[in-house]
């Protein structure tokens, strides 16, 4: 399933040269030297994972379903970004446009991506999952369908766009903004982290405080009783998919910003797996867990990469940590579900 053509999430961190005769070298010096740059870059990736993880966690909360097609909901958003920016004449090198023109263009790409992803999520729910629900299909049928939908969308894109990645798009040239302990934080990292944090806080508050959020929590805790309260369960489920899709669409913009050549038919796979891992790490079904898990997966992957001296280790380290955490806390760090989590 993992093709060699997947754009890897190789982070631009200076690496120490590992010794030739040992299989694994722990380069503690390198980690010490690159600690802050790894941290900021890890948080940037972590913010993207967290936004995608929210989609997994919300849908799991209301349906107890791992929506494997969520990685494709994300990649459709990436295509939304790609087509919008291509149409606006963005290319491999950063555009020569005034600041506000760039902001406007990116916002437009964001809107298109959000709509594309949310629409995909909603269509997947209506076409694939709702008929199963109506027939009271067993859990396994949902799982197989989810995997099937994931492949179906991937190959639909493959058939349409072919196997190779789309041309790289650079949105803007990252410029240094400030300096933390001798490490430069650039505009790209800052934009991604700030925007993602705003979206995460908004999602968290929406689930906690809004009426629809209360409906989502009620359905997650006890769907039948929620119905007895006058909650339209089907509408809540659809809304939940739409919110997950919306966040995936936003994540898509940041992802393409970070990895300009990442738009490819199967480009959502690895990211989807890591976001799912993030959701599990934090406690699946738990909104704050998804946020924490995402940031941790981003950070741990980066630290591991620097410590072990190779980007090949990024994912391995993240998953080893995931397994270790699950041994100690089987329900994830924050545990409990969307339903049972306090307020």
């Amino acid at each position: 399933m993992i093709s060699e053509a997947i754009p890897s999430l190789i982070h631009a961190v200076p690496m120490a040269v590992p010794m030739d005769d040992t299989w694994i070298t722990f380069d503690v010096n390198s980690l010490a030297e690159n600690f802050w740059s790894s941290t900021f870059d890890g948080l940037t990736f972590g913010a993207i994972y967290a936004l995608v993880a929210l989609g997994y966690t919300l849908v799991y909360g209301v349906l107890n379903l791992i929506n494997f097609a969520h990685s494709e909901v994300f990649i459709v958003g990436c295509y939304g970004v790609f087509f919008t920016l291509s149409a606006l004449n963005f290319g491999p090198s950063a555009p020569h446009l005034p600041f506000w023109a760039i902001v406007g263009n990116l916002l437009l790409a964001l809107v298109v991506a959000v709509i594309a992803s949310a629409l995909t999520a909603v269509i997947v729910e209506r076409v694939a999952y709702k008929p199963l629900r109506r027939r009271k299909a067993p859990r396994l049928a949902f799982l197989i369908t989810a995997i099937g939908v994931s492949f179906a969308i991937q190959y639909l894109i493959y058939w349409w766009r072919g196997p190779s990645p789309e041309a790289a798009l650079t949105m803007f040239r990252p410029t240094p903004i400030f300096d933390v302990f001798g490490t430069i934080v650039d505009s790209q990292q800052l934009v991604i982290i700030i925007a993602a944090v705003i979206l995460m806080v908004a999602t968290d508050q929406f689930i906690r405080r809004s009426k629809t959020g209360r409906g989502i929590r009620a359905v997650a805790q006890d769907p039948d009783t929620a119905t007895l309260m006058g909650v339209n369960k089907e509408k809540i489920i659809l809304t939940t998919f739409a919110i997950g899709g919306l966040l995936a669409g936003a994540a898509a913009l940041f992802y393409v910003m970070k990895i300009p050549s990442g738009v490819q038919y199967n480009g959502g796979f690895i990211l989807g797996v890591k976001a799912f891992a993030a959701a599990v790490l934090g406690g699946i079904g738990n909104v704050r867990g998804a946020l924490l898990g995402g940031l941790l997966i981003g950070l741990i992957g980066n630290y591991g990469q620097v410590l072990l001296g190779s980007s090949q280790w990024t994912d391995v380290v993240a998953f080893v940590v995931l397994v270790l955490v699950l041994v100690v806390r089987p329900d994830g760090i924050l545990g409990t579900s969307l339903g049972k989590s306090k307020a």
Partner: protein, 237 residues
């Protein structure tokens, strides 16, 4: 016109038939009880009235309107509210949030405020504990919360499925007193109970359910005097 009318209703779980050709009415202003042994089909009947289950045959009407195929969440807005068996408290929500769930389908904030006041008058404990999580309330408190929450939709018909389940005798008397009080305030009540003594004493009319069929019907007093029922349900030898 009856407030609620079931005509020849049958309900199936897959191939198993739980309710056989059941007909009964509930008139406005009444307390009507459904009593019967475990597995008789009481909860199935309640869930069919609230719309969580659909009858395989027969029809249900409410205030003269056929609601047989009406979605459950719309029936709530129409005036049917259920405190489910096992209470169905949302454990991760506070008492206040649970009560707010009860008025989910409403938009009239002044009406909601009035009903909240009514619920706090009936159950002062809920007001004291409004910030406590539902899951940490005692069984009796949860039952109060379940009833209070069901009242928050300002129902015309209140469905109570075993409100006395698992409660101490003193608490049971209190719950029944409150049910009568709710009824005196103008809410019609359809009550499912294992505690037949109390239920019959407080009900205008009652039905006895055996394996999915109604076997006896009458006023509370009549059924209490019936020797067969005395022996089977009232614990009188």
């Amino acid at each position: 016109m009856s407030l609620l009318e079931l005509k020849n209703v049958s309900v199936h779980y897959g191939r198993i038939q739980a309710i056989h050709n059941m007909s009964f009415t509930v008139e406005e202003g009444e307390i009507v009880s459904l009593i019967g042994a475990n597995g008789a089909g009481k909860t199935t009947t309640m869930r069919t009235v609230s719309g969580l289950l659909n009858p395989s045959y027969g029809s249900i009407s409410f205030m003269g309107q056929d609601i047989t195929s009406m979605k459950a969440h719309i029936r709530v807005v129409k005036g049917i509210s259920q405190a489910p068996e096992g209470r169905g408290i949302f454990p991760g929500m506070t008492v206040m949030e649970n009560l707010n769930m009860g008025s989910y389908g409403r938009n009239d904030s002044s009406g909601i405020a009035k009903d909240l006041e009514r619920v706090f008058d009936l159950f002062p404990r809920l007001k004291e504990r409004s910030k406590q999580f539902g899951g940490t309330m005692s069984g009796g408190e949860q039952q109060m919360l379940a009833i209070g929450r069901a009242l928050m939709s300002n129902p015309k018909l209140l469905l109570l499925d075993e409100p006395s389940m698992g409660l101490a005798p003193q608490f049971i008397r209190q719950i029944f007193k409150i049910i009568t009080e709710i009824n005196d305030q103008g809410t019609t009540v359809l009550l499912v109970e294992q505690n037949a003594n109390q239920a019959l004493a407080r009900s205008h009319r009652a039905f006895v359910l055996e394996t999915g069929s109604i076997t006896h019907r009458g006023t509370g007093k009549e059924l209490m005097a019936n020797p067969a029922i005395k022996e089977a349900y009232l614990g009188v030898a």
